[in-house]
Amino acid sequence: MATLPWNPGDLAQAETNIRRLAKVLTTRAAIAQTPKEVVWALNKTKLYRYIPVVAESERKPVPLLLVFALMNRPSILDLRPGHSFVEFMVKQGYDVYLLDWGCPGPDDKDLDFGDYALDYLPRAIRKLKAVSGSEEFSMLGWCIGAILVTIYAAVYPDDGLRNLLLLTAPLDFSQKDAITFANWVDERYFDVEKVLQRFGNMPAEMLEYGAKALKPVENYLGSWIRLWDNLDNTKAVESWHAMNTWVTDNIPMPGGAFRQLIVDLYRNDRLMEGTWVLKAKPVDVSRIRANLLTVIAGDDHITPPCQSESIYERVSSTDKESFHIPGGHIGIMAGSQAAKTTWPHMQAWLAARSGHIKTPA
């Protein structure tokens, strides 16, 4: 026989839920908790090394460098204890480094992809090699970070990069009809110079609006309804809190890099056309020879799969894999299934290629 849902116990649960809701709405979750140390810094950029937890003899010899986007905090890679990609990889015995681009100020408005990929990144890699003692390294780039590491891998193919992992990489801008952003920033509708003249850097609020407006109902309403429906589920609330803390902590994008993203990539597809020249160096992706794993999210609305697929055919790497996985742009790495699907696959791929270091000839 059906019973009514309310009883005295429900009142206590309701009070707990209200307290939980108040906490989520008024505090920031403790994210990026894996212990780390700064090993290099330049301007706003910092290179972190995560403190190893595995004995040196059991560690993978080839260190791993993580590079995230310019307009979001890299803490998504180390979201919360027990659900952190960084923590997972450190426990698997990797020597993990993270490049944090920091929050650009007015003085950084002219920094562009060339500065980040061909000046800051090589300097950080030099330090990584010095600290780790390894001439070879693996590099993982996610979102705009994948563009940066692709540029580096194309311009410096002989610099010790053994493994290149590209996550939801927006590299191919040729299929404009499939890319909503490409339509929004079309030169008929969007005056990038006028925006940058006013703001210098592209404001975080505008970038956040752009990302959320791709799925307005889900992002502006659905997310809160999901929280309300799960208020009596401690784990779901903790997960929501951590994700919301990251999602609402956006940073501006340096004006120079934003201009190139719109003009050189979204409008003119210069990377895949092979006509992109940065710091007087042509960026030719066919020069990439590192082992390649591209991870493509099947339901990615920010970087549709068509943007990440063609790199597989364009590189000269002989050892390469394209891994398609259901999920969204962020969900494949930070969602509840990531620890069972994406992370183990990437770890297994990398483990098979992170063994013995080649001795200098």
Partner: protein, 127 residues
């Protein structure tokens, strides 16, 4: 929550939640289609452009007023901080270059130079 007999208790709001979710799905689909259109791109671009054009005179006046006020009060302006920050970054860059050179010198001192290593380091320096 199931009761002791494994029977799901009656929830008067379940039907409403179902209706809400179905409505949200339909709404989300319609909105996602709408934002993919040229009309949306055109209107959002026009709104941004109108905002930038309309606010430009006020913004410029405000910037000038702030700069003058700071100057009168002998306080540094944003331009002063930007200039200082750029100089600091240049110094940091020079220090990083020196650090790299020092590392190379120490590496050469601590390891015997084979022809292959020498060739590789000269290639790096040339680059």
């Amino acid at each position: 929550m199931a009761d002791s007999k494994g029977e799901k208790p009656y929830d008067p709001f379940e039907a409403l939640r179902g209706l809400r979710d179905a409505g949200m799905d339909a709404w989300a689909k319609a909105m996602t289609e709408a934002i993919h259109t040229d009309a949306y791109a055109q209107s959002s671009g026009a709104m941004l452009d109108a905002y930038l054009t309309a606010s430009a005179p006020f913004y410029e006046s405000l910037q000038k007023a702030i700069a003058q006020a700071l100057q009168q009060l002998n306080l540094p302006s944003r331009a002063d901080f930007v200039s200082l920050s750029e100089r600091l970054t240049n110094i940091e860059t020079r220090l990083d270059d020196m650090d790299a050179k020092l590392d190379r010198v120490l590496a050469k001192k601590s390891s015997p130079v084979t022809p292959a290593v020498a060739a590789r380091s000269s290639r790096k320096e040339a680059r």
